[in-house]
Every structure is written in C-alpha cells, then in structure tokens.
Amino acid sequence: MIIQQLSVFLENKSGRLNEILDILGHADIRIIAATVADTSEYGILRLITSDTQTAYKLLKENKVSANLSEVIAISCDSLAGDFATKLKCFSEHGINIEYIYCFSVKSKAFLILRANDKDAAIKVAKNFNLTMISEKQLTDL
C-alpha cells in the first residue's frame, strides 16, 4: 500500500520547474499529482507519476537533485467533514502527518499523506477501514 513519491529540490530560479516537467514530458511520463512547497530560497516539488522509477532515473541523469520517498494514499468522499473524520483516526493514535496534498477525480477525493511512522499509519488505516489506494490504482486513474 506504499506509494513511491518523487521529491525534487527546486532552486528559486525562473524556468526551473518547467525544465523538470519537460524532462518528464518528453519521456511520456504522466503526472498524477503534484505539489510545490516553497520558502524564499528554494522549493520542493513532490510528484506522483505514472512511472516513478523511470522518472527518478531520468532526473538523476539530468543532474537534478531528486529523491524517492514513501507516502500512502487514501480515498475520501469529497464531502464536508470526511477529511476531518479520517485524519482524526491518525491523530488519535499519535501519528503525525508531516504533509498532505490531495486531488479529486469526479466525486472521489484522494489524499496523499506522509506520516512520521508509515507502518503505524497503515495499521491505523486498516483498523478504521479507510480505503487505501495502491500505486497501480493511482496510475490507472
């Protein structure tokens, strides 16, 4: 249930994000979800792609500082309150969420989250019957 996420160090330079997305675009790698966190000096681009391993290899070849990290994904209803209910399961069991981003397809919303303890997070998700999404399911969306 663990999903490989690609993290890229983004220097605060105009055109840098484009360069990286171009590399992936030319290799026909689809971007399923993306988020950019930024400070005044640099940003971190986080991506779920259709072929993360290839994407990682390509970025390395192009001398981009990139890394793989593990996240989990759960699906929610895009209804008010559903996010809150689901996140509460984690906090009540002492699991910290380091960051979260989401996207939705039709009426389904998907939460990508990074927990301080991913194994414990998976256990909690199972206990509460949260719908976890596999990497395959995500790429098939």
Binding site: Q5, S7, F9, L10, E11, K13, R16, A37, T39, E41, Y42, I44, R46, K60, K63, V64, S65, A66, N67, S69, E98, Y99
Partner: protein
C-alpha cells in the same frame, strides 16, 4: 611634524647603508635557529654574503607554512628567558602562527606605532580610544603601547558595545580613535540613532582605520559621517602587528618603515622582483627583531610601490592600499578567513556536494558572507530537515570563522564548473 626626523627623512643612501648593516645583524641572529641555520648553510650564505641591499635577493623566502611547521617556538632565535610576550593567530587553518617578542622588540614596535600616530597629527594632548579587540589580536596592545609611548591618554575601550564606546568618546573627550572601517561606520550610525551629532557633540578629529580591506570611497564616507580625517594603517601579526606602514597626511599611499623592514614586491609566481609601480606580493624582512627575525617573509598581500617622493618629506617608500591576496584568504570585519576553513566544515555534511561559492558583499554598511553550496544526492525531501541542515551548517561555520554567514542550499550542478582552479571566493566589496 616628524616623530624621529633623523630616521624619517634619512637620505636613501644612508637608509640603504643602515638596512645593509641591520640585515647582517639580523642574519647573525637568525642563524641561531635550526631552521635558518640549515637553509642558510645549504645555500652557503652568511652575513658576509650581504654587501648591498640588492643582495637580500640571495636569501631564501620564509612562508607562513614555515612558521606553522616550527610551532610554537622553533623560530625563536634567543634564549626563552629573554622572551616577554607572544601573540598567536587563531590557528583555524592548522597550527597557529606564534610571534615572540623580547622587551626590546616590544619597545621598537611601540616606537613604530608612535611614529605612525605622530605622523597623522596625534600628540600627547590627545585622547586616543582603541576599539580593537585586546588579547592575542595585535591591534589591541599594539596601538595601546604605541599611543602611550607618544604620551596620548589611551583608552583601552576594546571591541564592541557601541553605546559604551560613544559614552567614552563624549565623556573622555576622545579626539582620536582606532577602528576597523566597518565599525567606524557602525559607530556613526549608532550616534545618529541616539541623537548625537559626531561633528558637534564629539571632539573626534582623527581616525585610524585598518585590519580590513577598504576602498578610498569607504574612507571618504567615514570621514564625512564622523567629521574626521581617516588614515589607513597596515600591519600584520607576523610583522609584530600595526605600525608596518601608515598613511601620512597626504593620504596617498602608506609609508613603510624601511629602517625596520626591507621592502620587496615580487611576482607571486616567479618570485622575481616586479618593476616599481607594478602590483605584486609584498615581501618583508625584519631588521630590528631579536626574538623572531623573519627573512623575506611572503605576506601574501598584493600591493605596489608608489613611485616618486612624497611631499611630506619622508624618504621611506609608500605602498598602495592592499589590493588583495595571492592566496585565497579574505578579510571580513577584521577576521582572516580562508576558503579551506569553510570547505572543511561543508565537507562534514554528507547531504552536501563538493561545489560551493563564497560571496562577500557590502549590504547596507555591513560586510556579509554568503555561502552557496550544492546538495549531494542524499537530498532529503523533508522540509524541516533541510532547514535544520541550513541552521546546522550556519552554526558550525560561525564557530569556525567567527562570523555568521548566510547559507544557501542550491541545486546540484548549478554552480559553473570551473576550468582549472575553482573560483571559491567572489569579493564584490571593491566593485562599488
């Protein structure tokens, strides 16, 4: 107008005679150290090899490395019981360099500093405030003893605490002061902030600035801000400290005291003398030191001789303000920094790559150091860890170079790959 007219206006001919005599004496003292005895013997040289001042070129060079390798007392040429003081560098890039002094050495040094201060109009009626760090830093005790020798009321205010400095200036009626250029500007700023007009509310008229490279524009600004005349001072701990060369009231180059030092400017690559007026590395031989004579010491400072006589009447030649270094050392706020020190710290972090660039620039009135360093492959996607990393690098660098640099993480491969020697330091201060 001269502190020692017979020395300061000595004819060139007499000066050279004196230099030859003193160089012979210096060799005879230096030969008591295993280091000089060995290298002079190898070359079959002795005091007798010196007949004219040009003969100094027969002698081998001494480098900072030699001082380090003979740490701490290997180059002391006298019985240790005659040594009364030592000054040591911080030793951040290896063994520190230690300079030992006999009482006579200290007297000669104080005399040189007194000569400098007298040259810019400071007298026994003046109140001289020294804002240098005391202790191992030679700008502290060096100016203290020099100003006392002159008979000035000397205030050992030491570094920092601007409000206290300003209180001393107003309460004691300070008329002259020694400060590094960036601190002089800082003092002017603080005075303005607390409503003191340096021109009306203080008696300051003379400022001695040095220990940090600065431009003539910076000097003019300091003069304007504080309503003073500011004079450039040049010295280095290996040559005892301040009092090696100093500007006269014409403010056009620094008279180097040639009765105490042999002045040479050489090409740092070929080590051959350059033409008068051309820039090269300053090489100095001490002529009046007992404890630790140094022969043809390579200072690494780049400067040139200003050709021609000075209207002040002094016959000791003038050097231009220091243009840079023949090694990569740079000076910020009076602190000597080598890129190696910074590199040493950066390499301790596995998250960092090997490429980095140090930029020194003036921001507002402050000199700031920016360290840009490329990340390694081990880049973490965790934000707090990246910020922690930046913090941790900054702390360690501060411990090493004694200043807080700004640290910026940059993408791998974003610094230009250099052909040959990598450019590690960009000093933008003199371009303004």
């Amino acid at each position: 107008m001269y502190y020692q007219p017979e020395i300061e206006t000595i004819t060139r001919l007499e000066l050279e005679k004196l230099q030859v005599k003193r160089l012979k004496e210096t060799i005879n003292i230096a030969i008591h150290t295993p280091f000089y005895s060995k290298i002079l013997k190898e070359r079959n040289l002795s005091a007798d090899s010196i007949c004219s001042i040009e003969d100094v070129r027969k002698l081998p060079f001494t480098t900072k490395e030699d001082l380090r390798n003979n740490y701490p007392f290997g180059l002391v040429a006298t019985d240790m019981k005659n040594v009364v003081r030592l000054h040591s560098s911080s030793g951040t890039t290896g063994n520190p360099t230690v300079i030992c002094h006999t009482q006579k050495d200290l007297d000669n040094w104080a005399n040189r500093v007194a000569r400098c201060l007298y040259m810019v109009g400071i007298r026994d009626t003046d109140v001289f405030q020294n804002t240098s760090g005391y202790g191992m830093f030679t700008g502290g005790l060096g100016f203290q003893y020099g100003a006392e020798r002159l008979g000035a009321l000397t205030v050992p205010a030491a570094a920092g605490n601007s409000l206290r400095q300003i209180k001393f200036i107003t309460d004691f009626g300070t008329t002259a002061a020694h400060a590094i250029p960036s601190y002089a500007t800082r003092l002017a700023e603080v005075m303005t902030e607390i409503g003191i007009d340096p021109k009306k509310d203080t008696k300051l008229k003379t400022l001695v600035i040095g220990a940090e490279p600065h431009t003539d524009e910076q000097r003019k600004r300091i003069e304007e801000l504080l309503g003073v005349k500011a004079y450039n001072s040049f010295g280095m701990s290996e040559m005892s400290g301040p009092g090696v060369a100093f500007e006269c009231t014409y403010q056009n180059g620094l008279h180097l005291w040639e009765d105490c030092f042999i002045l040479e400017i050489v090409d740092p690559e070929t080590l051959e003398p350059v033409e008068d007026g051309e820039i090269g590395e300053l090489v100095l031989t001490t002529l009046d030191r007992e404890a630790m004579p140094l022969i043809r010491y390579r200072t690494r400072d780049l400067t040139r001789i200003i050709p021609g006589p000075c209207p002040c009447g002094r016959t000791h030649r003038r050097i231009d303000r220091i243009k840079g270094r023949s090694d990569d050392m740079f000076i910020v706020k009076g602190v000597n920094i080598f890129p190696m020190q910074i590199e040493k710290i950066l390499m301790q972090f596995k998250e960092l790559g090997t490429n980095y660039l140090i930029t020194v620039d003036t921001v507002g009135n402050n000199d700031e150091v920016l360290v840009e360093v490329e990340l390694s492959d081990l880049f973490t996607d965790d934000y707090s860890k990246l910020q922690q990393l930046t913090k941790s690098i900054t702390h360690k660098l501060k411990d090493e170079i004694l200043l807080t640099p700004k640290v910026k993480l940059i993408d791998k491969g974003s610094l230009p790959l250099s052909e040959g020697k990598a450019i590690r330091v960009k000093d933008l201060r003199n371009n303004k």
